[in-house]
Symmetry: C2
Subunit: 379 residues, 2 copies
């Protein structure tokens, strides 16, 4: 990408200059308002409902978008090649081992479709809903296995079901798991993969990989060179704050990638997302800032929940699943009246609410609302 | 979308100010260079290969993107609802009759997948390749029917094949047709649709609808209210210059839309594309400018081709299919050496090249190159 003279550069500077706007926005939404006053207008709620990164696009991504605008009338083939090459370098694989998706959800759709109509899809309950949803709407059989104690995947029971299933099996492991924020020990996952027959395929969704830590967690990428039945799924939506841009990918054996590509839409990542993704990949400072803001938000949430004696699941992600007392729909409606959106119901965990980590100011508004709910006897 | 104060506005102004850059870019690519001098660097060829709109994004789209950047970290559900509502108004249908796609190609993939594994897909030869490609890679049977005289779809022969096929049939009609730029009379299409049994489904791809004119052409949209087996496919890639943004849609009966949605990826249009699409829909001046630039380019191409006595197909699109003498691969390579990309081979029409309409300066470079090729005895 060559720069194209003064106007182009001044545009990029203006774009980079946008960063302060993100901060300016907050007072305009009256985040400091006390929750017992009139609700904020329904138009501008605080969104703690979709595990979005509250920082907004990084300056690097904004600049890349501004610089890419002059090519947005062109099909993005060259941009695809560049991002695939960068991802191959990052993950130390060959370019043909990367499958781009229009968000990681399109990759999950490819995973389900490539499993075949006669497959059995085995998922945790609860887990991220997209895989069972894609399967059910095309008539593929889904087996939902309740989480084990500690909210880990019940790998023993999942393995039993896989062993008894006739035909191909697709195992979906969201690790860390959404909506619980909990880890399933990677060593346990490894044990199953190592012993699984070829007809059992694993899709390990690592959307929240960057947020997780600790000695029991590592990526399933270690398997892909030797195991075409293992696919690892990643996203730019979380750590890179690109949920609106739609960019995700799979990493796998070349044979696994080829299997998925049969179900991908042509040109399935848009040019500005590819440009922003390329810029974000090199932006460690932004990733670190995302983690720091998330840590601060988690601590604020934990303090409040402990103070109110509301059980919560310590999180390895950018959200927290916590108990509420009373009806979940009523709770969600009241939060909405207070200008705050929290997570949808995740059956069967209907005594819990999922709240995403926002900016410090947003966490203050949320925790004040929760405290006021307690004063009213609502939680 | 409320504006968010001075910085935001100045950013929008900077974005709007980008328009002159598009014009400024041309001299930097040395478009005025004579084709017999050294080739332009491979990095910045003139792209006349993918039927892209050479104007670049409209000012309205650029402004909408700039204004939307602050929300690009959020899932784009609300933007989807707004664009669907605007499209429903434009086409005078209900919102549930619009299916968004990540480009119209994802809609075409949904069309193929929803036809079912036992379907017969009937397409012209040559036509836009995505439908047969999506079908073939998942093992769905494809019947290719050579174009009739005048390069129209051979509806009689296609209808014969449909009648003889066992099971469901998907008929793909690209009208105007890519790569020939020719129309199939809408009255003929209507006659078939009116008499077709329910097991025959029609996907009418109107990607170039806005470029076509004349009394024999109209949209197939007239059928959708009464015929759930008819789907009309449109794109923002061409008239709105958004190929890199990835935005297209289907219009159909609510039952047709529901059938397609089973195969759509979640959140399948990105937030900046939705914002740019919304802005573009209201921008008649840009659409008119696109048509004017296209008309000028077509006239320049026609003049040159007539002067060189090279047969061409009068175009109802933003590209022209014209005869060359000699080997197509050699011709394409020579054009590339001259810094010009033209269309890929479209078998069986290997005596023809497809050239997309560019800016006036780009047309001048191309026609000068073609004239110099004639002087060398190459075409």
């Amino acid at each position: 990408m060559e720069r194209r003279g003064f106007l182009q550069t001044s545009f990029a500077v203006a774009a980079a200059g946008l960063a302060p706007v993100t901060a300016l926005r907050l007072p305009r939404r009256r985040l400091m308002r006390r929750p017992d006053t009139a609700p904020v207008p329904a138009k501008s709620p605080i969104r703690l409902s979709s595990n979005e990164n509250p920082l907004g696009l990084s300056d690097a991504a904004r600049t890349a978008i501004a610089e890419g605008l002059d090519e947005a009338n062109r099909y993005p083939g060259e941009w695809r090649r560049r991002l695939v090459a960068a991802l191959a370098t990052k993950h130390q694989v060959k370019p043909e081992q990367i499958v781009l998706g229009n968000g990681s959800t399109e990759v999950l759709q490819m995973v389900v479709q490539s499993a075949g109509a006669d497959a059995t899809v085995i998922v945790a309950d609860p887990t991220f809903e997209d895989v069972p949803r894609y399967a059910e709407r095309i008539g593929v059989r889904v087996e939902k296995v309740p989480l084990a104690s500690g909210y880990t995947h019940d790998l023993t029971r999942m393995q039993d079901i896989a062993a008894r299933a006739a035909g191909p099996v697709l195992v979906y492991l969201c690790n860390p798991n959404n909506p619980t924020g909990t880890l399933t020990p990677a060593a346990d996952v490894d044990r199953w993969i190592a012993s699984a027959p070829e007809r059992v395929t694993f899709a390990v969704d690592e959307a929240y990989f960057e947020y997780a830590s600790g000695p029991s967690y590592w990526s399933a990428q270690k398997w892909i060179e030797t195991h075409p039945n293992v696919m690892v799924v990643r996203t730019f939506s979380k750590i890179y704050a690109m949920a609106g841009m739609r960019l995700g990918y799979a990493i796998g054996h070349p044979a696994a990638a080829e299997r998925l590509e049969r179900f991908s839409a042509g040109n399935n990542a848009n040019q500005l997302a590819l440009a922003a993704g390329l810029a974000s990949l090199g932006d460690d400072a932004f990733a670190q800032k995302s983690l720091a803001v998330n840590r601060e938000g988690l601590q604020a949430l934990y303090r409040c929940l402990e103070e109110l004696d509301l059980e919560y699941l310590p999180s390895q992600t950018n959200f927290v699943m916590h108990r509420i007392h009373g009806d979940l729909a009523t709770y969600n409606a009241r939060m909405r009246e207070h200008g705050i959106l929290v997570g949808r119901p995740f059956p069967p965990m209907l005594a819990f609410s999922r709240v995403s980590v926002g900016l410090p100011e947003e966490m203050r508004v949320f925790t004040e609302a929760l405290r006021s709910f307690r004063q009213q006897g609502w939680v």
